[in-house]
Symmetry: C2
Subunit: 133 residues, 2 copies
Amino acid sequence: MIRSIHHVNIVVRDLEAAIGCYERVLGLAVTRRDELPERGARLARFRLGGSWLVLVQPTRADSVPGRFLAAHGEGLFLLSLGVASLEAEFDRLGPGAADGEVRSGADGWLVRDLARGSTCGALLQFCEDAQAG
Amino acid sequence: MIRSIHHVNIVVRDLEAAIGCYERVLGLAVTRRDELPERGARLARFRLGGSWLVLVQPTRADSVPGRFLAAHGEGLFLLSLGVASLEAEFDRLGPGAADGEVRSGADGWLVRDLARGSTCGALLQFCEDAQAG
């Protein structure tokens, strides 16, 4: 069962500049910062109702967000849908629905990307977040 | 006050094909369809918790979503943030924060885009939705 928009990722060139920009637009202080070296990214996020808006600055040009930034420039990058169980959702969708394996996101979130062929071109993933209840 | 992720728009080439694709991925039936001739778009949306995922098929190449599709291909297009009052938020941000005027979205939503200079390149808007309470 898909429960929510868990988070939306926006790729930015300069995290500190983007934090200033989004703090102003949202009228909110940044909630939390994280480093994800294995993803090649530095993150900052804002709580918006039951969802998160996550700013992602690539730290390596050859990372997934780094390649996205080079190809598309700054902007909306990835939509992460909250699920109760990654395993149950990928079992439901059957073979070929996933792109890659389960990985750890920020804050213990478990995420797994959907194959582009399942999503009409958008970069989507499922996210299992024990803290989301 | 920014209250929520009100909706996320995904631009698609073929709305019927995309509805089939997203009904499968989400395990949900499409909630509603709309035509927005003045925006040059045909829409279908899914309820996800307190947010909407909206598929947008351009009906004219010279519309905003049509130009996005031509430039970027299918994918994440626009993030719409739920606010209690458009007027109050743009008053708070001051001159130059808006791109264009207030317009009517699907289902009586009132939306107004943010100038790209305020958002580090992402296409963002505020949305006032009387039904969101």
